[in-house]
Symmetry: C2
Subunit: 177 residues, 2 copies
DNA sequence: GACGTCTAGTTGACCCTTCAACTATGCACC
DNA sequence: GGTGCATAGTTGAAGGGTCAACTAGACGTC
């Protein structure tokens, strides 16, 4: 592993493929701006006392049939761990914005239901949040740029779905001190 | 920009501008994939016992002259709050990967210095991390897509710099329980 | 040279996320 | 119909991030 000695290819161990200058530039630009973006959106939302992940949960519910969704469906939609959704839902439940009930078809399942107060809340956030998304993302790009961004991220998503995470179970090889 | 003022130049209360279907699609694609991406990168790094933000800090230091940077420069480079950088640096210092010292030119300042062990550590992470970035982002896009992504995010960054965060101090207007 | 203000960085408390158990139900298979 | 395993969701502790308060040095001004 330590490519000291004769770091020759006994078999595997290809030469590390660094990023080209262009790749590096794009990657860094992504890294920087994505941080800034989530920072900005979070901050704008904060006025209303909700985090982005709370907003997303409520938002998904508000778009769902009858304002209800299974926990796991919610987790998939907003790309968060089950556990995190549980905690978030608990917080929102305490505020009276959602309620939990058993899933009719599956004894293990839990359905989250948006309450009237919850719907009212999301709707009151939505306008300003969309404004925020426009200000920080949509309106600063040309339609073509935005479309290209969406397309690229779509490809990232597709790749991720195909292979969510690659380190083999027995992996995590070299680990010093 | 104010959209050419095509429809409504009234000073007050414009109609809420929702996202168009295309805008919505792109925005959602971004939101989803950016979560997945940071998730995947974080997970791959986790093998080595560092988080992405720790890695970035070390990485910036390793690229800097003499492996040293001011705290504030570091914070700007990796787009994190001062406080967060302090905490992260403290953690890395405990592991012996960085050291803190006073800034020569400014009595208030602190410079973070990458130690030998620290440099060795980053270098050992780097190969696999780049691999990870390739697998989840760079290699799943065409060069043109990656360039477009970088360009779009560059524009997001520029806009953010111009106006980091917009809620006026007296803002956060309507706030119901 | 003392005052007010601004910038750099740290600290600690609180909150959110993560992670590793854990419960409970569904499902296959013999 | 019991055994084994997979899935759904929860829990609590541990760790990282945020926020507001704080220390301390710089800088301008009178």
């Amino acid at each position: 592993m330590r490519h000291g000695g004769s770091w020759n290819d006994e078999r595997v161990e290809e030469a590390p493929r660094w990023l080209t200058a262009e790749e590096q530039t794009s990657w860094r630009a992504y890294l920087r701006a994505s941080r800034e973006l989530s920072f900005a959106l979070e901050k704008d939302l904060q006025c209303h006392g909700v985090s982005l992940s709370e907003y997303e949960l409520l938002s998904m519910l508000s778009e769902a049939d009858d304002g209800r969704l299974r926990m796991s469906a919610l987790a998939d939609l907003i790309v968060q761990s089950r556990s995190r959704v549980t905690h978030t839902a608990t917080r929102l439940e305490r505020r009276g914005w959602v309620e939990r009930g058993p899933a009719p078809d599956d004894g293990r399942g839990v359905v989250v239901q948006l309450t009237d107060a919850g719907r009212q809340a999301v709707e009151s956030f939505a306008v300003e949040h969309v404004e925020s998304v426009r200000r920080h993302l949509v309106d600063v790009l040309t339609p073509a740029q935005l479309a290209a961004l969406g397309e690229a991220m779509g490809a990232v998503h597709t790749a991720y779905r195909a292979d969510p995470t690659t380190p083999e179970p027995s992996e995590c090889p070299t680990m010093e001190l």
